[in-house]
């Protein structure tokens, strides 16, 4: 069965590097990082990928400012009747930190509905795979004809809540994250937001060619190190196509990167396509990362180039990553998300 294509009609990002995809791409290719000590909480000497513009400004909370910044970044029209899919892990967690007893994820959804003028949205939460899971959900609803347009918004702010939680799990890097490096020692948290407008009537600026999700069903925090079910998601998303590059989840933790590279090595035993992770520049933006990967992936696909992997000293075995920009032999890219609970997501995208 030939499935209806789903087109990307618009893409936007709001990060420490600015509110245009161009500015973000320029920063990535220049090897810039957003790492700094946060001013809005005591991170106990740790650096995070911080957007200082969110420290002050309009909006009653950091998470609202993030969504307002994303709205300013949106340079496409959101048609009436567009269905909103909001992807987040902890949402408006800053409001809980401020003493409010609120459902922080639901507050994020409601703020996004108000900011983007879309009523009756869907909140999608799948840990750190929330962004791509929301894109996949939207893609299927569009293909089925249940909705005509989808706006997928992914976002999370840097918070004491999440930083202390990952610290308790021993998952944070002692310095900064180094995705796919043999000497990696953990992740660095970040913040940001991104949006995609999807529809079935193209051509738009790109397309979602496939998506699939699986669960390891193995361990609640550690991925299956064989990467078996992540590879299964990749196979289902790719069909019989081969990507020219991979935007990995690449958090820089020992286990995440090992499992991802194992999955990719299983899929491409004679040599995997060039591999890159945004986390070396932004840190881990949690619910935003999947949407951000696709938004920026359109630029990589169009320009047939992947940015240099920041922080890379010595690539881990089998990881086809490099500290210099990589030229791609085509525009089809595979994007990966992995989350607590053994959640795996694979999305195939291409610029048009």
């Amino acid at each position: 069965m030939i499935e209806r294509p789903v087109f990307i009609l618009g893409a936007a990002a709001a990060t420490a590097f600015g509110t245009t995809l161009r500015a973000n791409c320029d920063a990535l290719f220049a090897g810039r990082t957003a790492f700094a000590c946060p001013r809005h909480f005591d991170a106990k000497g740790r650096v995070l990928g911080i957007d200082p513009e969110l420290d002050n400004g309009p909006g009653g909370s950091r998470s609202e400012r993030l969504l307002l910044k994303l709205r300013d970044a949106v340079d496409f029209t959101i048609p009436m009747g567009t269905h909103l899919f909001a992807a987040t892990t902890v949402g408006a967690i800053d409001r809980l930190e401020a003493g409010e007893t609120v459902d922080t994820a639901r507050e994020f959804l409601h703020t996004a509905e108000r900011v983007f003028g879309c009523d009756g949205g869907t909140l999608v939460s799948a840990a750190c795979a929330s962004g791509q899971t929301a894109v996949a959900l939207a893609m299927r609803q569009l293909r089925q004809g249940a909705i005509r347009r989808a706006l997928v918004v992914g976002g999370d702010v840097a918070s004491e809540f999440v930083t202390s939680g990952f610290a308790a799990l021993g998952a944070l890097s002692h310095s900064v994250c180094r995705p796919y490096d043999a000497g990696r020692d953990g992740l660095t948290l970040g913040e940001g937001a991104a949006a995609l407008l999807l529809g079935c009537d193209g051509p738009g600026i790109g397309m979602i060619a496939g998506a699939a999700e699986t669960c390891d069903a193995a361990h609640i925090t550690s991925p299956d190190l064989s990467g078996r079910m992540l590879a299964a998601a990749c196979r289902a998303a790719l069909g019989d196509t081969v990507p020219s590059g991979v935007i990995g989840h690449g958090t820089g933790t020992i286990y995440n990167d090992q499992s991802e590279v194992a999955a990719l090595h299983t899929l491409f035993p004679s040599g995997m396509p060039p591999l890159f992770s945004l986390k070396g520049n932004y840190g881990h933006t949690l619910g935003a990362t999947g949407v951000l990967q696709i938004a920026l992936g359109l630029e990589f696909s169009r320009n047939r180039q992947l940015p240099p992997q920041v922080g890379l000293v010595s690539p881990m075995e089998h990881a086809n990553t490099a500290a210099a920009p990589r030229t791609l032999d085509g525009g089809r890219l595979l994007s990966l998300n992995v989350g607590f609970g053994g959640l795996n997501s694979a999305v195939v995208l291409e610029a048009l």
């Binding site: 609120v102 939460s125 299927r140 089925q144 939680g165 990952f166 308790a168 390891d216 289902a236 607590f340």
Partner: protein, 202 residues
């Protein structure tokens, strides 16, 4: 699309199932419920080795999921997906972690409490217990089960365990998305109400 099985539990730890008309409990606690329910004939194989690791919400979802699989006839195919829908969300878990962390003068949090703040965690634990390797996610939509049926109809797995967690109880249905239609599924604001409506029809 049709409902292949279902189970619900109340805050008094009484369990009911849809097809087999099972009635179990009230149990004094979740461990007692686990001991009794896993003794049922035809109970599917489940890995409950980590039952004690999770909080009450995790354990309630694990037991209700297990009973749903039993109600549907046994082991679930590996490609089964698990979807959490609406319910109470994670406010209680968020507050528990945050109060614990701030109560320790912000020196350190407890990893187990932090992990529980993700709304997918109970459903992932159920997936681990039952070996479900399809899509797992949590969705919050308008209070209309029609929206959930719409999401499932478009989803890739042929079977989904759908769950709703509230202070008043947990409800799970096993939805066969590839099977022959059994007529329109009820459009009600809560999964627990759908369960009751289906119970009335059976």
């Amino acid at each position: 699309m049709k409902i292949a099985g279902g189970a619900s539990m109340t805050s008094q730890m009484e369990f009911r199932t849809l097809n087999r008309r099972g009635r179990f409990g009230a149990f004094p606690d979740l461990n007692a419920a686990r001991l009794e329910l896993t003794k049922l004939a035809d109970m599917p194989h489940a890995d409950l080795g980590d039952f004690g690791r999770g909080g009450d919400t995790v354990r309630r979802v694990m037991l209700t999921a297990l009973l749903t699989a039993w109600d549907a006839g046994g082991n679930l195919p590996e490609e089964t997906g698990v979807i959490g829908w609406n319910g109470d969300g994670c406010t209680a878990e968020n507050l528990k972690y945050w109060r614990d962390y701030t109560g320790c003068e912000r020196t350190s949090g407890r990893g187990g409490l932090f992990v529980a703040t993700l709304p997918t965690i109970p459903y992932c634990e159920a997936a681990i217990a039952l070996g479900c390797r399809g899509q797992v996610a949590y969705c919050r939509t308008a209070n209309s089960a029609a929206r959930l049926w719409e999401i499932l109809a478009a989803s890739p797995s042929s079977r989904y365990l759908c769950g709703e967690v509230a202070a008043t109880g947990v409800c799970m249905l096993l939805v066969d998305t590839a099977g022959a239609d059994s007529g329109p599924l009820p459009d009600l604001p809560e999964l627990a109400k759908v369960f009751s409506a289906l119970e009335g029809q059976a």
